[in-house]
Symmetry: C2
Subunit: 338 residues, 2 copies
DNA sequence: CTGCATATTGGCAGCGCTGCCAATAGGAAT
DNA sequence: ATTCCTATTGGCAGCGCTGCCAATATGCAG
């Protein structure tokens, strides 16, 4: 006989509210009221109910509760990736706030694919969440339609360059890119290149790139060269991208990277090749990752308020705030690499 | 009049299965069968139902479905942090597998606090998930009790040094630390120090530290010095920790860091101070982060199969596998810093 | 001690969907 | 054409909890 571990039996006739009521000698609605601390009941009743709950090890069934009350207290996050620290940061900010109000977070990863996003949104909507949080403002027609029809709050994060469906919390990627371009020009860099990643799928990176180029052109100093990695951003892609770009266009004096991961790759490449930063080549990133502040030379970059975005987004949902767009801005960190 | 955005009205009398049935001119159970592709129905019926679904924009209510079928297809993740990339990596691995089987992921962050873990587990259990995934094997008595009583699968991740409640997927932190110690001794380092973070809360880091010390002692080369940062691990904490340790114990020839984040901080510190690696000071990390492979000198570290752990854990749950422990091992990366 | 307002409480009908089972329909076999 | 078997289909009772409402208890002024 095998007495070890879980024997694959579903034991517990899972305790129900009715059983607790029975055990406490009160009605079901009374137990419900006590447990939710809603409505009125005597101290005596309260104690009796809690004792029964404790004794039976009762765990409320929120599935039933949500069905009965038509309120799931679930917030769905449909994000492009978990590898890019940006999204865990947003989840962290929102999660903290939601948790305090006893909301739970459900998430799904789209891998930057609008089709997958649509499927994920549909799947999430099936749980009748209180809100759906998405990255960016670009969504498929179907996604937008479902979201609008769902009647639940929608929060679009990290991008303000476009029109939102309901709530939007973030900052302007275009403005961030322009600020970067202006900063680099002000520093005197004239032969600027770009090393980035897939900017069709990552529409925010695409918007930054476009705005950056436009800002340079406006000053009569158009981008001199670019190298675009087909996949997701990574330190390795940044290193390789810079290596390739320099091979093609050696006389660059500064590089704008699609984000800090990429920029760190470039930074490491320079260190390994003995290219001195910023005198020989300047490097500018985007995101303001912690790690980029501790490198021998702190990275020049844009710090984005990722955690705050999550927090504000969650708070808006909790407050059932009217449709609006909230700009949390960004901060240009001068650093020492540009 | 304001016609902009969401006017805070809950429009849609949310379409129900009954309405779809009505519209399609079939019974409710038929719609249910078609939608779940379960049981039999004619092609004609299928088409009519799907047409009605499309026309009405019906989105099944999984809350009701879960209640009726007593199966939520929800997997709960109760993790210590989202800042430490380890956990997003595990989520990513598991999420990919689960998603393909139409399971959804719910998560909660404990911030390495057993008390919060207990609260989060209770909250998760209320959704009657198919499984609960936790980090490590150390849990409060209450957590363990609830989990056992819940009847749902429990998967403990990233640690195998102890006894599991049900399923466990990971590797031995102690073995990883021993391998690190042996490697460092083999390389000839004799005055080894440790720079780590809160190892009471992060029990896995604690186990590594203990095993590392034991391994050094077993070879008669006990740890020479240590510096422990009170909070969570970070690059900055690693840099600062090394700086402090060297101030107190200058003649070290190698440092074992609690993880790669900390190690990178140490690495940057050495670069900034002109301490040559590994000749003057060797650095050894833990985790095998991507970024640590692209630094001018790849970091010597232990690569942990985080994504695979998530994938295997999810698969075990999907397969309703019997209780067991799966060791996915780790890989020592020699690197160039030790 | 009586009457009325207020505080507590219990009963019970759903929430929207699934599972079970009986009913009907469509064919093949006789 | 009739019978039997199988493929389809509809009906309906819950799943466990909440919301509403009526019923009962309690407290206090009169």
């Amino acid at each position: 006989m095998d007495f070890s571990g879980n024997m694959n039996v579903k034991p517990q006739t899972t305790v129900t509210l009715a059983e607790v009521a029975e055990a406490a000698g009160v009605g079901e609605s009374t137990v419900s009221r006590v447990l939710r601390n809603h409505g009125s009941f005597s101290q005596k009743t309260h104690d009796r109910v809690m004792a029964a709950v404790e004794r039976l090890g009762y765990v409320p069934n929120r599935i039933a509760g949500a069905l009965a009350s038509a309120g799931s207290r679930l917030v769905a996050f449909v994000i492009p990736s978990l590898s890019n620290i940006v999204f865990p940061d947003v989840l962290r900010g929102a999660g903290g706030v939601l948790e305090a109000s006893h909301y739970q977070s459900v998430f799904a990863v789209t891998d930057y694919d609008p089709g997958r996003e649509e499927a994920m949104v549909a799947a999430m909507l099936a749980w009748r969440p209180s809100a759906v949080m998405l990255a960016g403002l670009e969504h498929s027609e179907g996604t937008a339609k479902m979201l609008r029809a769902s009647g639940c709050r929608v929060v679009e994060l990290l991008d303000l360059d476009g029109t939102a469906l309901d709530l939007a919390v973030g900052f302007s990627n275009a403005a961030a890119a322009r600020a970067s371009a202006e900063f680099m020009l002000r520093r005197g860099y004239r032969r600027i290149g770009y090393v980035g990643h897939d900017l069709v799928r990552d529409t925010r990176a695409g918007k930054r790139f476009a705005a950056f180029c436009a800002a340079l052109e406006a000053e009569g100093k158009p981008l001199v060269g670019r190298e675009i990695h087909a996949g997701a951003s990574s330190v390795e892609a940044g290193r390789l991208g810079l290596e390739r770009l320099l091979a093609r266009v050696p006389d660059l004096d500064a590089i704008y990277f699609s984000n800090d991961d990429m920029a760190l790759g470039g930074y490491f490449h320079c260190m390994a090749r003995g290219i001195s930063i910023p005198s020989q080549l300047a490097i500018f990133g985007y995101n303001g990752l912690d790690i980029a502040r501790v490198t021998p030379q702190p990275l020049s970059t844009i710090r984005t308020p990722r955690v705050a975005i999550g927090q504000v987004a969650a708070q808006l949902v909790l407050d059932d705030a009217p449709s609006q767009t909230i700009d949390l801005g960004f901060e240009l960190i001068e650093g020492e690499t540009a």
